[in-house]
Subunit: 349 residues, 2 copies
């Protein structure tokens, strides 16, 4: 559903990335795409992070001439997550079973290194992302207050909710229960039954109860819930690499801005350290990144606004599938971009 063909994918490579959890990721590659032109002052950058089991292409519905991320004005950089198959991932290395825990922090460090070394970026007008991408946007705002002017967290959170982690534990258990998974050493015989079962079990989480009750899947050309689950979950997950999914889920489960240096586990203190203007847009019916959790973050933010997306599409409110949700997001992102925060780096402390 992108509005134009995706641009060429660029690769930024570090000889190795030292990891938050210890160890290192050698030959670390970041796959990214850009849209628009970098301004002479290198200060019109929008960093658009990516979500679980997604790529840069899934972001493109908000990017383009006349869209909210207007390429006539902004230089938009979409960064693919480590573990998601485009950047360095279990599926791209020789020994998937040795793939280390790569965190959101690690992703953001790599992304910043790219922006500095390749583009000498001086300021980030906006960092945004949905779901795990929203977690990355939050980490950007905490880790790089010197650069980041605005952050938009769509269907995301500052840290994983305990319930969300229990849900992911369950999904991992389902995938790993397939004997063909073989502890990750499935080689060219992927654990298809486990992948499909996980997909079927994931489907009720990703959408909402009213989505199914009101048969909103019909707008995607599906006549029944079963057809929707088959086409949009089972067939899709079947194509994905199991170790890649598990690497991303491990990253997701470790996500917490409070775990960053200086905060000693205090997520609230990390929230309070953010100088950027922060826009939180949880999905009103999201079952695992909940609007209620976003509401609990707001009091700790210096410059935070909360606008739950009034959508029955659950966690998919942050996708391009609900036209009303897209209009809502565009409106509030436009307002955020129109507000004039002080220059980056001058509001710290």
């Amino acid at each position: 559903m992108s509005i134009a063909a995706s641009p060429a994918v660029n690769t930024f490579r570090l000889p190795e990335l030292t990891l938050q959890a210890g160890g290192r990721l050698p030959g670390c590659e970041l796959a990214y795409t850009t849209y628009g032109e970098l301004s002479p002052g290198r200060d019109n950058v929008v960093v658009f992070t990516t979500k679980f089991a997604a790529t840069h292409a899934d972001n493109e519905f908000l990017i383009g001439p006349g869209r909210v991320l207007d390429t006539a004005r902004y230089f938009v950089v979409c960064v693919n997550m480590l573990g998601a198959g485009r950047s360095t991932s279990p599926s791209t290395v020789d020994d998937p079973s040795a793939f280390p825990l790569v965190t959101i922090y690690d992703n953001v460090r790599l992304q910043r290194a790219m922006l500095e070394h390749v583009y000498d970026v001086q300021a980030v007008e906006l960092v945004l992302g949905a779901s795990m991408g929203g977690m990355q946007a939050y980490h950007w705002a905490v880790m790089h207050g010197d650069l980041v002017r605005r952050a938009a967290v769509i269907c995301g959170a500052a840290r994983i909710a305990e319930h969300n982690s229990v849900f992911l534990d369950g999904m991992r258990a389902v995938l790993e229960a397939d004997p063909q998974f073989a502890g990750g050493a499935y080689g060219d015989r992927p654990p298809v039954r486990g992948l499909r079962a996980m997909a079927a079990a994931w489907a009720p989480w990703a959408l909402s109860q009213p989505f199914y009750r009101d048969e909103l899947y019909r707008s995607l050309g599906c006549d029944t819930a079963r057809e929707f689950v088959d086409r949009f979950f089972e067939q899709r997950f079947e194509q994905r690499d199991a170790n890649d999914l598990l690497a991303q889920m491990a990253c997701w489960q470790a996500a917490d801005i409070g775990a960053l240096e200086d905060f000693g586990g205090r997520t609230e203190a990390a929230l309070a350290s953010i100088t950027a203007d922060v826009l939180l847009m949880p999905g009103a019916t999201d079952l695992y990144f909940r609007a209620e959790d976003s509401a609990r973050e707001i009091p700790h933010l210096r410059h935070g606004a909360l606008h739950p997306i009034p959508s029955d599409w659950g966690h998919w409110a942050g996708n391009d599938v609900d036209p009303k949700a897209v209009t809502f997001m565009e409106h509030h992102l436009g307002e955020l971009l129109a507000r004039d925060p002080k220059p980056a780096g001058e509001r710290r402390g």
Copy 2:
């Protein structure tokens, strides 16, 4: 957590039960327990149905001298569901793979036959149940308006929600993905991996997001969510018979009072036909039998009251684990029993 030793389990046997979906269940046995004494007029009966993966013993926390189902006054009959392992189930028959679809309707017909033949029951003061038990209570109220004076539906519904069915599809997929399930022909080698994976995936559904956030599992002696899921889901489901679970899930997925004769799929018409006083007590944070769905039933009931249980225990609000929820249920059940509806059978039409 019952307050006393369970009474002996009685068995009522029919040579065969003709089934709603067609076919029949031969040698059909209903396992049930009774508490208190049947009055000379045989009109002090409370029918207490049972829920998924549960037995009569799980009901006993509301029964006893001085409790809301006071055995000094009521003759309480707890009926075990077909498929749940005590009454006729895949695990009790010679060929589990030939076990037919047994519906809530079938259960209620068998239960009524027992009450008539064994006790010559003239009126049912109250039929109640939680979860699938609530679905049975609703079916009782529609099918036997001549007998039923009051019905209490706890964390239940008149029909399965579409989202709930998608969730159960996922759980079935997880269990059946275990090669050891072998299409149900696992014999004495149960699909333990599938059972445990299903349990892990079920755990976030059965409780609520705030349950996990606020670590309410500590009141059950668990230090972590992982310990809770292991002890209360994985270890328990591992003990259950896979075919029994699937038979109950098929029953659950087929549940709809609108599918009963005369209503042609119109659940609202079936609701409107109920003459009993109906008390709906959904759990306020239940993720699959939702309070919102109960609220949609109320306008169609002649005599309906809605009292969502203010509990963060999700679907388990109807269990005996949240003392505040138990007190709440006792209060509203007491009020329902204290109200004096017209005699059964005189309010029809």
